[in-house]
């Protein structure tokens, strides 16, 4: 038996508390479905969801859908992140570029990305391109503006020290600005990755042949709530994994900032 102080310390550990929170909701779900107060068509039991999930997995649909969604997110986000980095840095370091682009970006940022879907379908049809473009539109402006902010907060002393040590131009960018903003850039990507992941599901709900969002909208047509639950849980788990991946990367690459 653990003595009370050890138990308390164990219980106050963030991981233990986190698992406890998830477990509580799960147990509540189990309880409600097992006593049958809710129609199982509306709320399937954990067992039924597990059943539907493993059936999808065995038929290869689950992995196929997940890969399709991940591929779209990856492609759209890599383009968005890759372009936002130089443009955000340019806006953060150059007043003219900042004044030129900031109002435009601030405006477009407030246009909800899903509202672009009809236009994207008209322009690019129903293939992969409109979905990748949607993720790009939905994340690029946030990425660029947040990177710009990170650059603006580089302490002037760090830049001026480099100047007084004989530094100029590009080396200051690569050796002072870049390392200083690296943690914030990774965090920006982590935060905006969440909206990329939201948008791919929205795009697939509208039009797609495969993908986790497509599977959910198909499940709705046949009233398969168990399959909708499978989709939601898988989406959540993949998102969480990406988030943890970014956190891990940040801890490894920017240990000085913690």
């Amino acid at each position: 038996m653990a003595s009370p102080p050890t138990l308390r310390r164990l219980l106050s550990h963030p991981w233990v508390l986190g698992v406890l929170g998830i477990l509580t909701v799960f147990l509540f779900w189990l309880l409600v479905t097992s006593i049958g107060v809710v129609d199982k068509l509306f709320l399937p039991s954990p067992a039924a969801v597990w059943e539907a999930g493993s059936s999808q997995f065995q038929r290869g649909i689950l992995v196929n859908d997940a890969m399709a969604s991940i591929r779209r997110v990856f492609l759209g986000f890599v383009i968005s992140a890759g372009l936002a980095l130089p443009i955000g840095i340019a806006m953060g370091t150059n007043r003219t570029i900042c004044h030129l682009l900031e109002p435009l970006m601030a405006l477009i940022r407030y246009m909800p990305a899903p509202a672009f879907i009809p236009l994207l379908i008209i322009y690019f049809g129903l293939e992969e391109l409109p979905k990748v473009m949607l993720i790009f539109i939905g994340t690029f402006f946030f990425n660029a503006l947040m990177i710009m902010d990170a650059v603006k907060f580089v302490p002037s002393e760090l830049v001026e020290t480099a100047l007084t040590l004989g530094g100029r131009g590009l080396p200051i960018l690569t050796r002072v600005v870049a390392p200083f903003i690296a943690p914030q850039v990774l965090d920006t990507y982590r935060i905006n990755m969440a909206s990329a992941w939201n948008l791919v599901i929205v795009a697939e709900l509208v039009a797609a042949n495969e993908g986790l969002g497509k599977r959910i909208s198909l499940a709705q047509r046949f009233l398969r709530t168990d399959e909708i639950f499978v989709g939601l849980i898988v989406i959540g788990l993949i998102g969480l994994m990406i988030d943890l991946g970014f956190r891990f990367l940040m801890r490894r690459a920017c240990s000085w900032a913690n």
Partner: protein, 255 residues
């Protein structure tokens, strides 16, 4: 080495917002000299240093270093700031090596000089530590080593100990004095602390605000063989009090 600041004025802003921050500053600094600028905040003492560093351009007047006009920052004028003085992602040794590698010096030379200057500031053992693992005083010593490593003609110190606790500040003053004696460096110190200026500098300029200008100059002829003793000696305390009352009468603020 000969640094000459001649009739320099500096104003910021334009039109109705034009604000004169420095008026007709003239200073002269030669090899091995330790000079201090003392003044309250708003006296423009930091602006003088930024002009000499080349981080700002004078509105009028000229600054010459060994006959050449100062137009931009350069490694012949090393600088130490009060805050954010080190690159937090680099170790102490990498910070010291930073200027040398910016200048594209060879690896062996960088390693040798880094070790040498870390040793000069007494931090050879801290080479592999990150700034966050160093105390405030140690961080400023690394910053001084980094500025010295590129062999500047003059070391510009902008309130380098202003963020440190009183006790650490006193030991850092002794460290800097000792460093100056050992290496014969030329230094310009900006401080609001009269005691610090009198302890370290041979020449002390008192600055007054609105607009910033030099109102009084003291050549400190005190015996500096023992700083701890000097701090509490009668002539030192009298001189300190005289300058303090002068500063008080200038802007009415307590110092």
């Amino acid at each position: 080495m000969h640094l000459q600041v001649s009739q320099v004025s500096k104003s910021f802003g334009t039109g109705r917002d034009l604000k004169l921050v420095l008026e007709d500053i003239s200073l002269e600094l030669v090899s091995g000299q330790f000079m201090a600028l003392v003044g309250s905040s708003g006296s423009g003492k930091s602006t003088v240093m930024r002009l000499i560093a080349g981080l700002e351009r004078p509105s009028a007047g000229t600054i010459h270093l060994d006959g050449e006009q100062v137009r931009r920052p350069g490694s012949d004028r090393g600088m130490v700031f009060q805050k954010y003085s080190l690159y937090p992602w680099l170790t102490a040794a990498q910070n010291v090596a930073f200027g040398l590698s910016l200048q594209g010096r060879g690896k062996a030379e960088i390693r040798e000089r880094t070790a040498y200057f870390l040793d000069v500031v007494g931090l050879a053992d801290a080479a592999r530590l990150l700034p966050k693992e160093l105390s405030g005083g140690m961080q400023q010593r690394v910053a001084i080593a980094r500025a010295l490593a590129t062999e500047p003609k003059v070391l510009l110190l902008d309130e380098p100990f202003g963020a440190l606790d009183l006790q650490i500040r006193e030991s850092m003053q002794e460290f800097l004095h000792d460093l100056w004696r050992r290496t014969g460096l030329t230094a310009l110190l900006i401080t609001h602390d009269i005691e610090e200026a009198l302890l370290l500098a041979g020449t002390v300029h008192i600055m007054a605000p609105r607009p910033g200008r030099v109102v009084h100059t003291v050549d400190v002829g005190l015996d500096r063989s023992d700083l701890r003793h000097l701090r509490v000696s009668q002539p030192f305390l009298e001189l300190r009090e005289e300058l303090a009352s002068r500063l008080r009468s200038l802007d009415g603020s307590l110092l």
